[in-house]
């Protein structure tokens, strides 16, 4: 399979404090990669660098051959980001939020309206399309956040602890939407602390510790969720987050 995301010797420091140290990572099209690590391991910083929100102190990040530092606009049109923050405007309706972000990605006219209806149906919010986001529950906001991040049909989807604050029902709906994405169209990279969900959903696991990759393996080589937990504990010096 072709590579969609490649990181070469990526480091990031805040002042004298190194957060990422020489990260090399290659992600192929269609993979669903989990990035695990304790708090402060550098997971969110890594996602911010990969998604153009932050620049690496050293190294090169390329998405589909485009250098993230040199050509951020092209990269942004290829990626979607779902985080614990929904990136939604409270005083706009669900439909208005999607329409606004669609326009920001250069989608307009009937194509945009069709895409909005399709996504609202997919995240089971068609009945609430004209309601303001401020009236939504946390789970509904997160589902709408998925629709927002998929409006431009990104090739690469970053998920930064997307389950934070979701109840069981909202988590299941969220999972279903994620699993319904065609891996041929969308590669997924998820930062999480949830080892069971990682084992069930992802096909590759990367463990970060103190800014370095300490484990990288296909999920097929990990026998069970219990085994993943053992691997995590043995590789992470501070494992307070599991």
């Amino acid at each position: 399979m072709d590579s969609i995301l490649s990181l070469s010797n990526v480091s990031k420091s805040y002042g004298n404090f190194p957060v990422l140290k020489g990260i090399d990572l290659d992600i192929r099209k269609g993979e669903f990669v989990a990035i695990l690590g304790s708090n402060g391991a550098g997971k969110t910083t890594l996602v911010k660098i990969m998604s153009t929100l932050s620049s690496p102190s050293e190294g090169v990040v390329e998405i589909s051959g485009h250098n993230v530092a040199d050509d951020p606009a092209s990269v942004r049109s290829m990626i979607g980001v779902i985080s614990h923050e929904t990136h939604l405007y409270n005083d706009l309706t669900a439909e208005e939020n999607l329409r606004f972000f669609g326009k920001m990605y250069g989608i307009r006219g009937d194509g945009l309206e069709d895409r909005i209806n399709e996504l609202l149906e997919q995240v089971e919010l068609s009945g609430r399309s004209d309601d303001r986001v401020v009236t939504f529950s946390r789970g509904m906001k997160q589902r709408l956040s998925i629709a927002r991040s998929l409006i431009h049909e990104p090739q690469l989807l970053f998920l930064d602890e997307p389950y934070t604050g979701l109840d069981q029902h909202a988590s299941r709906t969220f999972e279903k939407v994620l699993q319904d994405l065609d891996p041929k169209d969308t590669t997924r990279v998820m930062v999480t602390h949830d080892l069971i969900r990682t084992f069930q959903m992802c096909n590759r696991v990367v463990i970060l510790d103190h800014g370095r990759i300490v484990f990288d393996s296909p999920m097929s080589d990990v026998g069970s969720a219990e085994e993943l937990k053992e691997i995590y504990i043995s590789n992470v010096k501070s494992h307070s987050s599991i």
Partner: protein, 224 residues
């Protein structure tokens, strides 16, 4: 260009729906005019005295009402991490800045359109014309908002943004305030464009310079 208008339209749609900023700005602006008219009305006497004081009063109302609006301009973008969502879109940072500035200019112009008739009535002011005072006030507003929108983004992550913004903003907008007040007074009294051409040129240069500088530095202001 079209994305600038999309961002401005989104901001205005949110504001017209809640009217959080607009109501506060209008009420504050009117309060300033009423308080000044009550305080100075009896001692101003002749229309010449009114013409000397009133333009300053008008701009005090605009500037402080504007500061209230500007201090909230980026707050909505902080809720739910919307600014991050906007930064993730393939839109230039300059477009984000300009879109926000356009929305702020529209809001300030609405406040000014409501304030000016009340000002005219309370100060018993005889306006010489509408076009020239409108042009001066619009140019002054653009300069004020160009700087204010940038500083609003700069201070939005601080806990004391409501205090910090006017403290930083007022010294920086002095070069626009002085010609704006002078030209507003003259224009309201019926001066011709030739009479205030120097002030108009100053305002225009200030607007262009600050708009361009703000566009260039905005990327660094909103960087993580």
């Amino acid at each position: 260009m079209i994305r600038i208008l999309d961002i401005a339209a989104k901001d205005l749609k949110e504001e017209f729906r809640t009217k959080q900023m607009l109501n506060s700005m209008v009420i504050f602006s009117l309060l300033v005019i009423v308080i000044f008219s009550i305080s100075f009305g009896p001692i101003l006497g002749s229309s010449e005295n009114v013409e000397m004081v009133a333009p300053g009063v008008l701009w005090i109302a605009f500037i402080f009402a504007g500061s209230i609006g500007l201090s909230r301009s980026f707050v909505a973008e902080l809720e739910n991490g919307c600014l991050e969502g906007l930064k993730l879109c393939p839109v230039s940072r300059a477009a984000i800045y300009t879109g926000k500035a356009v929305a702020n200019i529209v809001l300030m112009l609405i406040v000014e359109i409501i304030t000016i008739p009340i000002f005219v009535i309370l100060f018993n002011y005889n306006i010489g014309g509408l076009f020239l005072p409108g042009l001066v006030i619009a140019l002054g507003t653009i300069g004020f908002v160009c700087v204010g929108t940038l500083l609003s983004a700069l201070t939005v992550n601080t806990r004391t943004r409501e205090i910090l913004l006017p403290v930083l903003l007022l010294p920086l907008v002095l070069p626009v305030l002085i010609p704006a007040v002078m030209a507003t007074g003259s224009a309201l009294s019926g001066a011709s464009m030739g009479d205030i051409s120097q002030e108009l040129r100053l305002l225009l240069v200030y607007d262009v310079v600050f708009f361009l500088v703000a566009q260039l530095v905005f990327e660094y202001v909103i960087q993580d």
